[in-house]
């Protein structure tokens, strides 16, 4: 039997930086997110042979990786660098205050620099030698967290969690633990994933990529839409601001690429997160669904929610707006909850709408979906992330005392 968890320590998500298909800063992303704008998804023809797929790609140039960090020069790290630049001053102040040996880096990724490695290996197949720009460290999962640590000359623990689609949520969970243990006084935590041939072809082979934009919870849903993105938080022990209140995790002991159809692992993660935050289900004001739009995910997630919540809160999936950013999704979606709380006015939050064809699948357990323009009294917000290999992580964010 589980005993009561230790009282969760203060864990402030002090600053947020973000890039995804909807924009290149939080200010650009928020209005498009809350209005449910699908106009930023695009079609790529060359990622999967003989197939066009919708993707959530970040357009435009990215900052150049400095020459002295050339071994880390890949798109995944360039996206991360673009996010770091957004909160550079805040990070600099905190590093100066606590000391560089007291700042840890915990990142999540399922791709690291795979998109660049693919080019290098294509070069090898065509010419017999790897592309000269290729360095093995671009491909290492650990390269992402090390890049951040070395770029900022931080001397605390720096590591990358890679548990597929729960990686980004898990990075925030570990950041909170490192603060609680005193292994760091500030943590740069988040996740980055890049569109690449490996994941698009892999998920295509698994027959879970939709030909149309993903349509979660619809009876017409045909699978997921992939995306890329990065979300970085500065995490500290401050008591105010927006807090990481609860963490719930589980494994499924079920299957390598399919969730337990009963959603028992999802239910455990949600229940444990509420227990960790000392909250009851009626307190949750909004739930960000994992909501991938695959037949199996939506069925098991809706049934888990219906069992967990006597009266479920309004829910939405943000994957129809930015795509499924895989290893980054848990951090991005915690970031979306953060933006909702940050934009709070008069104790009310504007909910991110669930954008789909409106034809709710009658086979699914009924859950209320947030619609455009919906506002609710503020409260704790929950975000679900369920990964390949049966690795689940659920987070709860809430505004702390002012």
């Amino acid at each position: 039997m589980m005993s009561d968890p230790p009282t969760p320590p203060p864990c402030s998500l002090t600053a947020l930086a973000m890039l995804n298909a909807l924009g290149r800063s939080c200010d650009e992303i928020w209005p498009r997110l809350v209005s449910g704008d699908q106009g930023y998804l695009t079609i790529r023809d060359e990622l999967v042979p003989d197939r066009s797929v919708w993707v959530g790609e970040i357009p435009g140039p990215l900052p150049a990786i400095p020459e002295s960090f050339r071994r880390f020069a890949c798109r995944n790290n360039a996206l991360t660098l673009a996010a770091l630049e957004q909160i550079h001053d805040t990070i600099t102040d905190v590093v100066a205050a606590v000391g560089r040996d007291r700042v840890a880096v915990v990142m999540g990724s399922s791709t690291s620099g795979v998109s660049d490695a693919e080019g290098a290996i294509r070069h090898h197949v065509e010419t017999g030698s790897l592309a000269p720009s290729f360095h093995y460290e671009q491909l290492e999962f650990g390269g992402l967290s090390r890049f951040v640590a070395e770029l900022l000359d931080l001397r605390g623990p720096a590591y990358t969690l890679s548990t597929a689609c729960s990686s980004g949520a898990r990075a925030l969970a570990s950041a909170r633990s490192l603060l609680s243990l005193g292994l760091a006084d500030a943590v740069i935590a988040g996740a980055t994933d890049t569109l690449c041939g490996l994941t698009t072809n892999g998920f295509s082979a698994l027959q879970v990529i939709s030909d149309e934009i993903t349509n979660p919870c619809s009876r017409n849903r045909k699978g997921l839409t992939l995306g890329e993105g990065t979300a970085l938080f500065l995490v500290t022990r401050e008591t105010g601001g927006i807090q990481l209140r609860g963490v719930g995790e589980s494994s499924e002991a079920h299957h390598m690429s399919a969730p337990d159809p009963d959603g028992l692992g999802a239910e455990t993660a949600m229940r444990t997160a509420m227990r960790d935050a000392s909250l009851t289900p009626d307190a949750i004001a909004y739930l960000n669904l994992h909501g991938t739009g695959t037949a199996l995910n939506d069925a098991m997630e809706c049934s888990a929610i219906a069992r967990t919540f006597p009266s479920p809160p309004p829910c939405s999936s943000t994957k129809p707006l930015v795509g499924h950013t895989l290893g980054a999704a848990g951090a991005l979606e915690a970031g979306f909850c953060w933006l909702m709380l940050d934009a709070q006015e008069n104790d009310e939050i504007a909910l991110i709408p669930h954008v789909y064809d409106g034809d709710f699948d009658p086979e699914l357990a009924a859950i209320p979906l947030a619609t455009k323009g919906m506002r609710r009294p503020t409260g704790p917000l929950m975000s679900n992330s369920f990964g390949f290999g049966g690795n689940n992580c659920c987070l709860i964010l809430e505004r702390g005392p002012a």
């Binding site: 005993s3 197949v125 290492e140 623990p157 072809n201 990964g387 049966g390």
Partner: protein
Amino acid sequence: MNTAVLRSWAAWSPGREDEAAWRAWAAHPEALEHEGRPEVAFLPALLRRRCSTLTRIMLAAGFGCCEAADRAEVRTVFASRHGNINESISLFERLSKRQPLSPARFSHTVHNAQAGLYSIAAENRLPSSSIAAQDDTFACGFVEALAHLQREPERAVLLVMADIPLDATAAYGMGLLLANDGDGQAIAFSSSASNAPAEPKAWPDAIEFLRWLITDEPQLQLGSGRVRWSWNRVENRGAQRAASAPPRTA
């Protein structure tokens, strides 16, 4: 300074599969081999067929240091610098020739494939992390294990570290069962900034740790030149003396 109790350990490398072999190795260290794989006879044949060599090594180390009754009752951390790189390379080659990928092969190259297969094999439904941190992978795996002990203090954490580098140097795996209490060696862990270049070590960090564990040196220091990681033997004040069984090993 954070302290954990090492309740048991197990390690595997070709030709070195039990405690006696590792004690003999620690007394007279010699190069580790890279060819070969553990039998993992404890796995059902159907599951065993799906296991890569890295998975076999991780499951052998994990099952080896955890008694049957505990395998489903521990949180887990799987640490590997290179992960499934040997399998991923063949997928990249297929992609570059625009050949279709096998869905099963794709799902077994995710970094948490070993965590997923452990969960299935041990029927373990508890939280699990898979990490990588370049040359700090073992130390950061230890940090992540401490992070799990923080989240649920009464529950033990199984840390498994294994690697099969692309250049086919030593293949090895190690399992550590860590907890906040119980019988075993208590170990204090800390990290500090380092400005000195990393000292070259004879063995991978996990194997350096194992050698330290078997010998009676008070302290182990490892590091990448950026951070210095320290492990110190300390008195186990929280040991449950009533449980008089000696600490289990491989």
